[in-house]
């Protein structure tokens, strides 16, 4: 395998931020809130860069869909070792309704256009937790998929992927080209080195419009309402196991 890897990186609200719902319940507050690269996307970038360091791939291309600000996220991927970036410009209402279906169409179109051999994504984004984009993209491309990957080994023109599944670990062998989605234990993302951060400044980010890729961004979903989870109520302390059982019976839990 000696080709090009595409890595999808998503700009999300930073994991440490306390999320607040907008007063009109139409969504969450994003203005002025700290954003960063989705943690699973960081793991995806790290895996791609590792493959390049092992000389198993020639070029790592970081892709992100969104408004101007996503260029920061692409730049971070470049600082980690990606060679160039592609910014798919989506803004306004289109960005608000952008979901896995639209992104997977974009990714599939780019994978074909860039003649990629491998597409690595994070298994899910921490804002919507959809866990769909990788799978949908593979289906659109009719490529095999190795999702929830916790270990990837190149074996000639195939990939051996160890997947984290409910029952434990599953090992599969898939042909290239393929789609992988990164799970938590795949690797530990590196801290960008200062020289690489400087070099990233000179690396190229090309801008592309979804229409250039022939992708229709219309959403088939409409968000009706966003609410906060119910406030956690204080618990009750009991003295004995018998008390516990009777309390559980009282509230109809058993």
């Amino acid at each position: 395998m000696s080709g090009r890897v595409l890595v999808g990186v998503k700009r999300v609200i930073d994991y440490a931020v306390k999320i607040r719902v907008k007063p009109d319940n139409s969504g969450v507050v994003t203005d002025g809130v700290k954003h960063s690269m989705n943690p699973f996307c960081e793991i995806a970038v790290e895996e791609a860069v590792k493959l390049k360091e092992k000389k198993l791939v020639k070029e790592v291309v970081a892709v992100s869909c969104g408004p101007q600000q996503v260029q920061e996220t692409i730049r971070t991927a470049l600082a980690m070792g990606a060679d160039r970036g592609i910014h798919v410009e989506v803004s306004g209402k289109d960005y608000e309704s952008l979901g896995p279906l639209q992104v997977s169409k974009i990714m599939a179109a780019l994978a074909k256009k860039e003649e990629a051999q491998l597409l690595i994504l994070g298994k899910q984004a921490i804002d919507d937790d959809c866990n769909q984009t990788g799978q949908m993209t593979a289906a659109l491309l009719d490529w095999p998929q190795g999702t929830f990957a916790s270990e990837v080994t190149v074996e000639g023109e195939k990939l051996k992927v160890v997947r984290e599944i409910d029952g434990g670990l599953e090992t599969i062998k898939i042909n290239l080209p393929a789609v992988l989605t990164a799970d938590l234990r795949l690797n530990t993302p590196r801290y960008a080195t200062l020289p690489n951060i400087m070099k990233a400044k000179k690396k190229k980010i090309t801008q592309v419009k979804p229409s250039d890729l022939g992708v229709d961004l219309t959403s088939r979903l409409q968000v009706l309402r966003v609410d906060e989870p119910p406030q956690r109520q204080a618990g009750v302390k009991v003295e004995t196991v018998d008390d516990l059982v009777s309390k559980l019976r009282e509230c109809g839990r058993i």
Binding site: T76, Y191, A192, T193, L194, P195, I197, M198
Partner: protein
């Protein structure tokens, strides 16, 4: 905290009178993208790798060898060193940002980074020959080896011109005798930039700078000082007894030692200012967090005006200090005279009210090393009077 009010006042008036560089600085209200990423990367590193162990490092006086190697791999141990020599090849603003974030996580790690950058690689970069740079800088960029700076002596600190450590030529060697005191990184260092008198009659013009490998015959270390703060970094005496080094170990011209030391400290002060900023920010974070959680009289204490005023004062002091530090870094990068700016911030007691005792202990040193607050005041006074005499 009367002292700090006066100092904040001095900053603000100094800021007002430095209109020349001000316009350039206010364009800096938004840092360039690369610098934002550098700051973010160092902050993440500090949050994940330094903050969780800082208390333990402090308690056990433990040198963070693993972390220094990791920081070396990131390029943080040699930020201004050009890439050909193994460094990160960045500007002083990047250095200031990186150091602030590192120090926010752990002040001791911050000082180890600072000494290696400003006080060790700094003078060699500026005054060393190409051969000396390769030999004495490149191995010290990875975090595997660190260097130290030996100027102070038991008999003189602020009056560096009175150095009593001597070096005399004997054939093709220098022979050094004397004692250096308060040397940061001494116990972990593989080399020192050390100052000794080569011509006593010339007084401060008779001091020269030398490069000494460590360990080395004739060089021994005193006991590690048990310090109030920055306890994970070692501070000890360096004792020279007929310590012999090749003639080629002279750094810069003979007799230029005092100039080298002063110029090095001028730059180093920006590093220490950044370290103090990091400690101040950590204290502010700590205080604000506590104010939101601790309740008294039925509400979080953050709702009480007395607490709010303290937090506001802290925030203003930190922000003004930060802008001044950035300004000094910028001026130094554009090779303009920057001593005016750092003279004001050098002697700060940034941290007004600490709820974390370690920050308080760590912060106290920033008023002492690389130029005591008292000396800073003399320098500032001299400058002010000079202006009014014109």
């Amino acid at each position: 905290m009367e002292d700090n009010n006066v100092q904040v006042f001095v900053f603000i008036s100094a800021l007002g009178s430095c209109l020349n560089g001000w316009r350039k600085l206010s364009q800096l209200a938004e840092l360039p993208e690369t610098h934002l990423i550098i700051r973010q990367t160092c902050r993440e590193y500090a949050d994940k790798e330094l903050t969780p162990i800082a208390a333990k490092l402090d308690k056990e006086h433990c040198y963070p060898a693993q972390q220094i190697k990791e920081l070396g791999a990131m390029g943080v141990m040699a930020i201004e060193v050009p890439e050909e020599l193994g460094g990160a090849g960045m500007d002083y603003l990047a250095y200031s940002l990186a150091l602030e974030e590192i120090s926010r996580g752990c002040a001791s790690t911050g000082v180890i980074v600072s000494v290696n950058n400003s006080l060790y690689t700094g003078p060699i970069l500026k005054f060393g020959s190409e051969e000396q740079k390769k030999q004495w800088i490149t191995p010290f960029t990875t975090g595997e080896k660190v260097g130290c700076f030996a100027l102070s002596e038991p008999g003189n600190g602020s009056d560096a011109g009175a150095a009593s450590t001597v070096a005399h030529q004997d054939g093709d060697e220098w022979v050094l005798n004397g004692t250096k005191a308060w040397i940061t990184n001494s116990w972990e260092s593989s080399a020192a930039v050390l100052f000794a008198t080569t011509d006593k009659k010339l007084k401060h013009k008779g001091i020269s700078a030398f490069l000494i490998p460590m360990p080395h015959p004739g060089l021994s270390l005193g006991k590690k000082e048990d310090k109030l703060g920055i306890r994970a970094s070692s501070t000890a005496n360096i004792i020279l007894e007929d310590c012999r080094i090749p003639l080629g170990n002279l750094l810069g011209p003979r007799g230029a030692g005092f100039k080298i030391a002063m110029q090095t400290l001028d730059s180093g002060r920006i590093g220490i200012a950044s370290q103090a900023l990091g400690i101040a920010q950590a204290s502010l974070d700590c205080a604000a967090d506590y104010a939101l959680k601790r309740t008294a009289f039925g509400a979080p204490i953050g709702k009480l005006q007395a607490i709010q005023f303290k937090l506001a004062d802290m925030a203003v002091a930190v922000e003004s200090a930060r802008l001044l530090t950035w300004k000094a870094a910028l001026l130094r990068d554009s090779k303009k005279a920057f001593t005016k700016a750092i003279q004001v911030l050098g002697g700060m007691g940034y941290v007004t009210d600490m709820s974390a005792e370690r920050h308080y202990r760590d912060a106290r040193i920033t008023e002492i090393y690389e130029g005591t607050s008292e000396i800073q005041r003399l320098v500032i006074a001299n400058q002010v009077l000079k202006e009014y005499q014109q």
